[in-house]
Symmetry: C2
Subunit: 236 residues, 2 copies
Amino acid sequence: MIGEHSSKQYDHELETIRSKVLLMGGIVETQFLDAMACFRIGNPERADRVIAEDDVVNQLEVSLDDACSHLIVKRQPTANDLRTVMATIKVITDLERIGDEAAKIARTAKSLHGRGTPGLNHFEMVRTISTATSDMLHDALDAFARLDGKVALQLIARDAVIDHEFRSIMRNLITFMMEDPRTISSALDTLWVAKAIERIGDHAKNIAEYVIYVVEGKDIRHTKPSAPVLPDQGAN
Amino acid sequence: MIGEHSSKQYDHELETIRSKVLLMGGIVETQFLDAMACFRIGNPERADRVIAEDDVVNQLEVSLDDACSHLIVKRQPTANDLRTVMATIKVITDLERIGDEAAKIARTAKSLHGRGTPGLNHFEMVRTISTATSDMLHDALDAFARLDGKVALQLIARDAVIDHEFRSIMRNLITFMMEDPRTISSALDTLWVAKAIERIGDHAKNIAEYVIYVVEGKDIRHTKPSAPVLPDQGAN
């Protein structure tokens, strides 16, 4: 994988960017888990921390983009290294958006628990999609850390499961709202949270696609999932 | 602005990428306008065309990312040129997402008109946000085409107006749903359309921020809007 560039300093610079991306990934993953905990049990202080953490994530986005630009100028990366830098530039954007969605969930959790939620166990509605998405995000970040194209490829199919679960939540919430219009406001809050989770699933899928781009040198975005992307590839 | 690189061939390559981005921008802008026309008056064939156009946009995304990679390897851009390439890599992602949102609006328009919409003039609910957003998108693409940092800076504030309008639509729709639960389903469709429009506004804002990054060499994402970014700059 490595080997086409010789300088140790260059390796070190690439590795610094990589660890910073992983740090950013770790932060947004925790943000998401914390935001869901707030949605489940309240805890406005924790919600505030999730929201405040967004600044850290935003600053990481800006500084990582800058580091990638500098690396391009200084090292003129080619082949694998350039793909890694290109993928990093894209992954950063997805991570930043995940942070945004987590902050949105935290804000909704705060407002929902602040005014009470009659007649609707809102967390139960999103428990399944929340677990599926946090698992997917974790695995996507792991695939990025280990540059594991096989895991990344398997991940992509899991986004469809999350989208399906989202539609099912929406149907359930519509039923609730129709049966008891007093639940409309909190049902909508729950729907926004479900939507934010579904978006996080989209971003995790994007990250998986960029991992495949780095590993395989192939851009599989917008291709049909049945296309044989990793033919005859052995275990990682 | 230009002048730091000398090769005519290089200029030509940069210009080709630029025109292709503008082509992509023109397509998604039309997609959005067409999708809104479908939402207003129906027309399932036109909605299908908007949805089909998404493939063209997706392919442009892939081929433009590829062209940017090639340019980096071949030309080793620095300073202005590198900023242009970096901004292009990011803008492409935003344009592709705008295409996605337009396709979502077209799908909702189809399903809503397919089953009729009792008691809710759904287009009137989103008329204001739709006009504000399509104007903003048009101006953002124009700012990108002319690399006009001044216009781009003014654009950024307009996103807050769109967000505000979105929240007002949501409150109105909640009132409708509470007064007549039979409208819940179509009100939710309208809400998703409003949300898609609000997202398009976010992407237009991102594009404006990248224009400022190219022109000013400054990354103003996540800074407070009051920060003086273009001090004492004369007319474009």
